[in-house]
């Protein structure tokens, strides 16, 4: 940048009569022209500024178009441009606004876990079931600002598992392994926190789903989905 020696920052009254007039009215020491004043801009500056504005407006419009197509239910337009939309939206602008919609999942899921551990005498024993969700809820109740660790950890890990597995527990996509690893490590961590870290060799999960009774009707029986035993890995303990 060429540095300015003149006290009136780069104003050349001969080149720009409008700017020169504005400069005459002000004391010479202060800033001669307010750069934000649109009236003080030469036509050349106005033109370039207008072009920049057009670019930005078009850019903002495209962004909003992509966001709208990403948020909307899948349609023929979003199918046609799915690659472009994905490329623009991820990772920053991903969003999903199906908040309790179309329908609220009217069921309370409680995730239970138990472990096989090597006891002091060398035999492998099985612990009783622990209610992971129950612990979360105990922390949430009475708390006006509950922690993410209670609200989202177990809940979303189970959602992640459901999203990556079929009903027969077989993997549905390439995130299945990640989901299992996450759940396994959560169980290990919870047992560690409870002082039961020693020698956990395997963990097992079950989800107990209790439907919320419709208004005025009696509650229905919970259903249980029990997963197989997962062997722990060395890296699960930290």
């Amino acid at each position: 940048m060429p540095a300015q020696e003149t006290p009136v920052a780069g104003v050349d009254p001969a080149a720009d009569p409008a700017a020169g007039r504005a400069a005459d009215k002000l004391p010479p020491a202060g800033p001669a022209v307010d750069p934000e004043d649109p009236d003080a801009r030469s036509p050349r500056v106005q033109l370039v500024a207008a072009l920049l504005a057009v670019l930005l407006v078009v850019g903002a419009g495209f962004h909003l178009l992509f966001v709208s197509l990403h948020v909307a239910p899948e349609n023929q337009a979003s199918r046609k441009y799915s690659e472009d939309i994905r490329g623009w939206i991820f990772p920053l602008f991903e969003q999903n606004w199906k908040l309790f919609a179309p329908d609220i999942l009217a069921v309370n899921v409680r995730l239970n876990a138990r472990v096989q551990y090597r006891a002091a005498d060398g035999t492998v024993r099985e612990s009783a079931w622990t209610d992971l969700t129950g612990d979360d809820i105990a922390h949430i109740q009475g708390n006006p600002f509950p922690s993410k660790a209670d609200q989202n950890l177990v809940r979303r890990a189970w959602d992640f598992y459901l999203g990556s597995h079929n009903a027969d527990e077989s993997p549905a996509n390439n995130q299945a392994e990640l989901a299992e690893e996450y759940l396994r490590r959560i169980v290990v961590k919870r047992f560690q926190d409870a002082g039961r870290a020693d020698g956990i060799v395997a963990v097992q999960l079950r989800a107990v789903s209790t439907p919320i009774a419709a208004p005025g009707s009696s509650p229905t029986q919970p259903t249980v989905r029990e997963l197989g035993w997962w062997e722990t890995k060395r890296d699960d303990f930290r």
């Binding site: 940048m1 920052a9 780069g10 104003v11 720009d16 700017a19 800033p31 022209v33 750069p35 649109p38 009236d39 003080a40 030469s42 050349r44 500056v45 106005q46 370039v48 500024a49 207008a50 920049l52 504005a53 057009v54 930005l56 407006v57 903002a60 909003l64 966001v67 948020v71 909307a72 991820f90 990772p91 920053l92 602008f93 199906k98 908040l99 309790f100 919609a101 179309p102 329908d103 609220i104 409680r110 969700t133 809820i137 949430i140 109740q141 708390n143 006006p144 600002f145 922690s147 993410k148 660790a149 950890l153 809940r155 890990a157 992640f160 996450y182 490590r185 919320i212 208004p215 930290r238």
Partner: protein, 412 residues
């Protein structure tokens, strides 16, 4: 743009309806449509590149979203290592595997050691505090966005919709002039009389901006940080007048576009949330609220939830009002008077969600989205009332006149 009263046009385009008596009266009608359209377009572009409007709305968003993130960081201080750090069951390696598929990045994944995490946590708290206070706001806004993105991406499975809103807004806010009012920057400008134009005297700001560029450079390709550093370093010198005017025009245009995107984003959220609900059986037959209030994970006060979950008419009314306001938000919020009703309903709804479902951060983020649509005069009025109340309370507490008289309800 959307949130601001139009105000007088910037005036470099002749007004179409000139007073009739000083015209030579050639009995000509109005200029043809294409001329008027072109003039209108030029006037619009002039407004977009002219003086920034909506500065108070932008400042409110800065303080609000910065405050939400700061509150989340401090609230989780004891759980920080479990949620984002070295004790998390979601290991750095797993985070990288998930982010690899979506090109996600996080400054927390630069190193796996605990000291790096603790350092970044401290930087995040400090940067967010400075952003809320409006200290070299453009630079701290970049740091703020880097930190919000990083904490989100590190533990994607710990986030909820409130974090999504915060992430989007932290990105959009980088492009707004959100530090012009209600900020330390504004106070410094008042005290020193220094202009915003780059040049000597802005060395400290350039230094902070370089720090932000380095932080962003850990997430971006290497050349991006070089470009960023080059742009930041020009702040050491004065620009020639025309370039300086262009810079100001670009800043204003970015600010206006970003505010428009923010407003549109809020409308997209409500429209989507409402239209998805319309398709749902439980929202149609009015039982949705009953189910929402009986979810164990969203029931911090079961007794209170039980009280609100009281009766068929009440439940149906709540469900219908929710759906109608969400679907209608995008239309009603641009109506001069109806918008106050819609915004009031939305704020009430979010207060309810905050308390009954135990989601104060989500509710605060959404409520801030509603508040962008309030006019400047309203914000200034509330600010003045808040300042008066603050002085009154302060005077009562200290039982002596407030010497400084600085109202600080919204500033800090």
């Amino acid at each position: 743009m959307t949130s601001v009263d139009p105000g007088p046009a910037s005036g470099h385009v002749p007004a179409p309806a000139a007073p009739a008596d000083d015209a030579p009266k050639p009995a000509r009608g109005r200029p043809p449509l294409d001329v008027r359209l072109a003039e209108g377009l030029l006037a619009l572009l002039g407004r977009i590149t002219g003086r920034p409007r909506g500065l108070y709305q932008a400042a409110l968003l800065r303080i609000g979203f910065g405050g939400v993130f700061l509150a989340a960081l401090l609230r989780e201080f004891l759980n920080r290592r479990e949620i984002w750090g070295d004790r998390s069951p979601w290991s750095p390696d797993m985070a990288r595997r998930l982010l690899g598929g979506i090109d996600g990045v996080s400054i927390l994944l630069v190193r796996d050691e605990r000291w790096w995490f603790e350092l970044m946590f401290a930087v995040a708290v400090l940067a967010t505090t400075l952003f809320v206070l409006g200290w070299h706001t453009r630079a701290t806004s970049v740091l703020f966005c880097v930190m919000v993105v990083s904490f989100n991406s590190r533990s994607l499975l710990m986030t909820d919709s409130g974090d999504t809103v915060l992430l989007l807004m932290s990105f959009y806010l980088m492009f707004t002039a959100c530090g012009r009012v209600w900020s330390l920057d504004a106070r410094r400008a008042r005290r020193t009389g220094q202009t915003r134009s780059p040049g000597p005297g802005h060395e400290w700001g350039v230094f902070v901006a370089l720090f932000a560029v380095v932080a962003a450079g850990l997430l971006l390709p290497w050349w991006a940080s070089l470009v960023g550093a080059a742009i930041v370093l020009t702040g050491m010198w004065r620009l020639p007048l025309e370039l300086e005017q262009l810079r100001a025009a670009l800043v204003a245009a970015m600010h206006h576009c970003a505010l428009f995107v923010i407003a549109a984003q809020v409308c997209v959220i409500y429209a989507a949330a409402g239209l998805f609900k319309v398709q749902g059986k439980t929202w149609q037959d009015g039982t949705a609220m009953h189910y929402a209030l009986n979810l164990e994970y969203f029931q911090p006060f079961p007794a209170l939830s039980g009280v609100v979950d009281g009766g068929e008419v009440w439940g149906t009314a709540l469900a219908y009002v929710t759906v109608f306001t969400q679907v209608g938000f995008a239309f009603l919020v641009f109506a001069k008077r109806a918008k106050y009703v819609v915004i009031a309903i939305m704020l009430g709804m979010h207060l309810g969600i905050a308390v009954l479902l135990g989601l104060p951060a989500f509710s605060a983020a959404m409520a801030l989205g509603d508040l962008v649509f309030l006019p400047t005069a309203f914000l200034l009025f509330v600010r003045a009332q808040g300042g008066r109340a603050g002085r009154w309370v302060g005077g009562r507490l200290r039982a002596r006149p407030d010497a400084e008289g600085a109202p600080r309800t919204l500033d800090a």
